[in-house]
């Protein structure tokens, strides 16, 4: 730092650098002390600022006057060349003793001034404060919010939303569910949240029921109370349980018949659902069989099936397989049960005939 060294040292002609803190106040600091901060040094050299009160160097916002004072104390001590390591260490140990709030401010400020040795010193001190504490204690010390959900704290079991495909799915479902709820309010058709693919089916039902098919509606209302809590989350989190291991390992020779077992009802091509690995799975899907209308008379059911098929055809030509599955599950003799996605759909170990 030749400029610093060339500074005239006669006391009455000592050089000063002018610094302005965020609150607008300006102070002058001995040149060699101020130049110890890389950020100030750069400003002086590159812009020529700091030579007078009117051209004070504006310090970063994180540097307020008291903190600047501390930093300058640090610089004042350390910029003196002759000191031994032991002296410096002793100074540092004493210097660092302050309350946590101030320590945080100091760390932040030192970082903005790029004063690496002080950043290291304060960071280490903060690390020592953090070590050995529980999360709760750390939150208290630093006044941090407790904003992780229970599910997130148990990550990665529940919180699998960092997988982009799943995140997108979640969003789609959330939106759809919201839409359905709104439609429900408008049309007073009771929508039951029980199945992952309810979007399509409920859409269909709404379409079908927009007439006055009271019989169906009545049936549905009877079983309305047996809602599942959070079908989507359960479905996807359970899916994710097994799917973690084999996200890449499973060959894409996954058959489409397996893919449709996933009950994820969207033709969204970007999601490439058939790429979801299926080999390993835990069947935690609980389907509310309130949707199962055992009381529907066969003629009604047949008509429903036809309407559904029609609608599906119109809705999306890629959907025949989807609908096929929905129709299968709609049949009385096949209750909605945990779908065990382990192997081919024919192995259906858990689609038993027992009533839930």
């Amino acid at each position: 730092m030749s400029e610093g060294a060339m500074a005239v040292v006669k006391p009455e002609m000592k050089s000063y650098i002018w610094l302005q803190t965020a609150d607008g106040s300006i102070q002058q600091v001995e040149e060699e002390v101020a130049m110890f901060c890389p950020m100030i040094c750069r400003e002086v050299l590159q812009t020529g600022m700091g030579s007078s009160k009117n051209y004070a160097i504006v310090l970063p916002q994180r540097v307020n006057p008291p903190i600047l004072g501390l930093i300058l104390d640090y610089c004042r001590f350390h910029q003196v060349p002759g000191r031994s390591n032991k002296e410096r260490k002793t100074f540092d140990e004493r210097f660092i003793r302050m309350d946590t709030k101030k320590l945080c401010e100091l760390t932040s400020a030192a970082d903005s001034l790029q004063l690496k040795p002080l950043v290291d010193l304060t960071s280490r001190a903060l690390a020592r404060i953090i070590e050995g504490k529980t999360p709760e204690e750390i939150r208290e010390t630093f006044h941090l919010p407790d904003d992780l959900t229970e599910e997130e704290k148990l990550e990665p079991l529940r919180n699998i939303t960092d997988d982009p495909r799943i995140r997108l799915l979640n969003r789609l479902y959330a939106r759809k569910r919201k839409e359905l709820k709104e439609r429900e309010k408008l049309k007073s058709v009771e929508v039951e949240e029980e199945r992952v693919d309810e979007r399509s089916v409920d859409d269909l039902l709404t379409y079908i029921n927009s007439g006055d098919d009271k019989g169906v509606r009545a049936n549905k209302s009877k079983k309305k109370n047996r809602r599942r809590k959070d079908p989507l989350k359960d479905a996807l989190s359970n899916k994710a349980n097994g799917d973690h291991e084999d996200l890449e390992a499973v060959p894409t020779a996954c058959s489409h018949s397996e893919a449709k077992d996933l009950e994820v009802a969207t033709p969204h091509k970007a999601l490439k659902l058939q790429d979801f690995p299926l080999g390993t799975f835990s069947p935690k899907l609980e389907f509310d069989d309130s949707y199962m209308d055992d009381d529907l008379d066969p003629a009604m059911r047949e008509e429903l099936d036809r309407e559904v098929e029609d609608f599906a055809r119109r809705l999306n030509p890629d959907w025949p397989e989807r609908i096929q599955e929905i129709l299968c599950l709609d049949r009385p003799e096949r209750k909605l049960l945990p779908v065990h996605i382990n192997g081919t759909s024919s192995s259906c170990a858990c689609i038993s005939l027992d009533r839930r």
Binding site: S108, R128, G132, F142, H143, N241, H244
Partner: protein, 581 residues
């Protein structure tokens, strides 16, 4: 108002926080800290490889440089875990290879490692530095050859206690001539010969070599030459320590050993001939670690050696040392932190050596820094345990193995409850405890009441009823691993304390009284546990539900049930439908 930082600053603070516990705490503080922490986590330790899936790990931590995994339960060391149980590292290596091209360190314990995995490691990680395979199996020297040939930056290759198949291919020669970065090599477990000339050349060209543990086949008369090429060694494991040495060979050895002024740790000493022991005497005063667990020499020789090791911190020795040797240890080695005394003839009912509880008492009196003990003996008394407890409240690991099961206090013929009770009462920081001898439910009451920092407990042939298990599960706040064999513990304690199991890493129970029905119930009720029934008698359904299972391994997991189980292991799940393997 939160004390806020820019992310880089917080990341810098986190860079000074290393321990897994602290990093886990940091990640649970709040959303932003969670995010920052996961991006700068460089080291991951997974204590049970089935607790989380590899995909979940790589998804959460995008830039990891060091991974440590453990597989089989600890009781696998005692042959209680049948062959084929699991612990396959292959899915992990596959995932890690894809996710972490900059991975530098892999440490595995009790896992099944294949040559394919070793080859994948060798190919995938350009900056690979450390491979530690502790008590692993399933691989051969071919896998090692791949690692040697490809890992240009390898620093550490440690095969401690692993079972390696010898394909006789001179794997050591596969280290290219340009390879010079070896720092630590442990091949002590290898049964077969290594090419000695390759070894010599390797040692010669690696100036940073600090730790060299040879296997038994390395002859003593070649040791001197090896040592002269590596005078900077800090840790040496000799090969076989016997030969027909001519006197100049012997003085050569003495000279070479003396030349290793940095040597702090010695091990090996297979078939040691006492006459050659003096060769290491010049090193004794600097030694901090001495492993004589293969040295079948008598007490007087051992004593002579140990009495010169004034800086000794760790001693592993056979019970040939006897009480007299331990007294000398207590007198001379004031810096001792860890003592392990292994049985020379564990299957011999009658004692063959004069090693009693007194030896341990002496050491507890004389060595004020003693905190870790593993002690095999044939008799113990409550009085001795009380003395030890009073002497050493700083004890953190206490594993006592009285060889005969259910052996009472040999003086009073009472159970050893009060003795172990004293241990847990006085040693407030006790982290690990192994029990033995005649013990009733009382000892578990003491443990549940006092052992608040206890993390790992091993129990065998102890207790009277479920109450014992209940005391432990309900009282030990820090318990992480519990392993039990041959105890009359049944369903009640287990089911009543089911929630506790989610706070622990794992529970092993073999030859106890836990019924199949209880296992099923537990599996049903606790989705975040894998309840694995191990039964080589055939499908548990072929027996009544009240029939106890052979072995039970319960562990918490976020990965769901595993699917790599052999046909004698079943996971109890929520449907209580047995899943075929």
């Amino acid at each position: 108002m939160a004390y806020s930082f820019p992310e880089e600053v917080l990341e810098h603070v986190f860079s000074f926080i290393g321990s897994d516990r602290d990093r886990n705490a940091v990640s649970l503080v709040c959303k932003s800290w969670y995010e920052i922490e996961r991006w700068c986590r460089r080291r991951v330790f997974v204590g049970n490889c089935y607790a989380v899936s590899p995909a979940a790990v790589v998804r959460r931590f995008p830039d990891v440089r060091s991974v440590e995994l453990k597989g089989k339960p600890h009781f696998a060391d005692f042959n209680l875990v049948p062959e084929g149980w699991g612990g396959y590292v292959s899915p992990w290596i596959t995932t890690l290879a894809r996710a972490y091209p900059w991975l530098e360190e892999i440490r595995l314990k009790r896992m099944v490692v294949t040559d394919e995995s070793l080859e994948l490691i060798a190919r995938s990680f350009k900056n690979f530095k450390v491979l530690v395979l502790s008590s692993c199996e399933g691989f051969s020297t071919d896998g090692l050859a791949a690692v040697a040939a490809n890992c240009r930056n390898l620093r550490e290759l440690d095969l401690r206690e692993s079972e390696v198949e010898d394909m006789s291919g001179h794997w050591l020669s596969h280290f290219p001539d340009s390879y010079t970065s070896l720092v630590s090599l442990n091949i002590s477990c290898l049964g077969s010969e290594v090419s000695f000339s390759a070894l010599e050349r390797l040692v010669s060209r690696c100036p940073d070599l600090r730790s060299l543990r040879l296997n038994r086949t390395v002859p003593l008369d070649r040791l001197a030459n090896l040592l002269r090429r590596a005078p900077q060694l800090a840790e040496l494991g000799t090969g076989v320590y016997s030969a027909e040495l001519r006197s100049d060979d012997f003085s050569n050895l003495v000279g070479a050993l003396a030349g290793c002024r940095e040597l702090r740790s010695l091990s090996g000493f297979w078939d040691v001939v006492p006459a050659y022991l003096p060769a290491v005497y010049p090193l004794c005063s600097g030694l901090t670690s001495l492993n004589l667990s293969y040295a079948t020499i008598q007490s007087s020789e051992l004593t002579k050696l140990i009495s010169q090791c004034h800086s000794l911190q760790r001693l592993w020795v056979l019970d040939y040392i006897e009480d007299s040797g331990l007294e000398a240890l207590a007198a001379c080695c004031k810096d001792l932190r860890e003592l392990r005394v292994f049985p020379s003839e564990p299957f011999n009912r009658e004692g063959n050596v004069s090693l009693t509880e007194q030896g341990l008492v002496s050491v507890s009196e004389g060595c004020s820094k003693l905190q870790s003990v593993l002690y095999f003996c044939r008799q113990m008394s409550n009085a001795a345990l009380l003395t030890i407890a009073r002497n050493r409240p700083n004890m953190t690991r206490f594993r006592l193995c009285i060889i005969e099961p259910r052996c009472p206090d040999y003086i009073t013929h009472e159970p050893l409850d009060t003795g172990f009770g004293a241990i847990v009462q006085h040693c407030k920081d006790l982290q690990r405890l192994s029990l033995s001898g005649l013990l009733t439910d009382r000892v578990f009451e003491y443990i549940g009441t006092y052992a608040k920092k206890l993390e790992m407990l091993s129990v065998a042939f102890a207790g009277d009823s479920d109450l014992g298990l209940h005391h432990v599960l309900s009282g030990c706040d820090s318990l992480r691993k519990l392993e039990i064999r041959d105890c009359p513990f049944g369903d009640k304690a287990l089911l009543a304390n089911a929630a506790k199991l989610e706070t622990m890493r794992s529970l092993w129970m073999s030859s106890c009284s836990v019924s199949f029905g209880a296992c099923k119930l537990l599996g049903q009720k606790m989705p975040r546990l894998n309840v694995e029934v191990i039964d080589e008698r055939g499908h548990p359904d072929s027996r009544p539900e009240s029939c106890p299972v052979e072995k039970l391994y319960i562990y918490r997991t976020v990965a769901g049930p595993r699917f790599d189980m052999p046909d004698f292991v079943w996971t109890m799940d929520e449907d209580s439908a047995l899943r075929p393997s």
